[in-house]
């Protein structure tokens, strides 16, 4: 999973309100609210990105144990994929 590249799905519309993001899946109408770290990950997924790159960028912003960061980001990206919010676009 970690060597794959991910990117936001074009089937998701989103808008920012303050520091939060509201996302809406175009096909199933499901809506999602994102805050803090989730927003940071979502923003990084604007371009094809892999898990190590996301973690590396998060380490620049947050004080977090590397193992915890990686586990949490993998879990989050996995959910994004399950919900159809991000797509796999290849690997390095």
């Amino acid at each position: 999973m970690s060597s794959e590249l991910y990117r936001r799905s074009e089937r998701v519309l989103f808008s920012s309100i303050g520091d939060d993001i509201v996302a809406l899946h175009v096909e199933n109408g499901q809506c999602y609210g994102m805050e803090s770290v989730t927003v940071a990950v979502w923003n990084l997924l604007a371009e094809p990105t892999d898990i190590p790159t996301i973690c590396s960028r998060l380490h620049e912003i947050y004080d977090v144990e590397p193992d915890i960061c990686r586990a949490d980001v993998e879990r989050l990206v996995s959910q994004f994929r399950t919900e159809g919010l991000v797509e796999t676009v290849g690997g390095r």
Partner: protein
């Protein structure tokens, strides 16, 4: 939903006073009025003895477990109640989360007024996308409907813009205005919150 949540400052004062003398509640409520627009609730509860009077006012009476009238209220005029001295009891009792937070000292009035400005901007964006005759309670029903697979590309694009604007408004209202005792406007699909719960400390 539009419940008996106590007595607001607005209800106790019973009139318009110079800004410097206004209570926190009045300063906030007179800039807002969203609880009367249907943006926060579908329905306002009436006491049984208020029903004949409400009927006389021409309010659209409804029963949702309890008697009440449909929102938006036609007597809201530019953030002010045009039947203030005779308004239903629930209108004086209702306290939103934002007002409660200001009164409890959890947030400053200026911060609350900024939330009101943001919410009203989001409200205006939705209003601009809705047909004139469509109310917010009617519009919210749209979010529960599946998308029409036979829509043209243009129709789909227009509907998605509306859905996103409405969803954004609802999320904002749920976060800042809906009282914690009330049901939320939207059921969000939960996102894994572990990233947001403690392990990540901002430098």
């Amino acid at each position: 939903m539009f419940g008996e949540l106590g007595i607001s400052d607005t209800a106790q004062e019973g009139g318009v006073a110079p800004a410097a003398n206004l209570s926190v509640g009045s300063q906030l409520c007179t800039q807002c009025g969203l609880c009367c627009t249907g943006a926060l609730h579908n329905f306002a509860v009436l006491e049984p003895e208020e029903i004949p009077f409400a009927r006389g006012l021409g309010l659209t009476l409804r029963t949702q477990g309890r008697p009440g009238f449909a929102l938006p209220c036609p007597y809201l005029k530019d953030c002010a109640c045009s039947i203030y001295d005779n308004r239903p009891q629930v209108c004086g009792r209702y306290i939103c989360q934002l007002l409660d937070d200001v009164r409890e000292g959890k947030i400053a009035l200026e911060v609350a007024l900024e939330h009101v400005r943001t919410a009203k901007q989001l409200y205006g964006e939705v209003r601009a996308l809705l047909p004139t005759e469509t109310t917010f309670p009617e519009a919210r029903l749209l979010l529960e409907e599946p998308l029409d697979p036979d829509q043209s590309e243009e129709q789909r694009s227009k509907e998605m813009r509306l859905r996103l604007a409405l969803t954004t408004l609802c999320v904002y209202l749920d976060k800042h205005f809906k009282h914690w005792r009330e049901s939320k406007l939207l059921t969000m699909t939960p996102i894994d919150r572990r990233c947001e719960e403690g392990s990540f400390d901002e430098f």
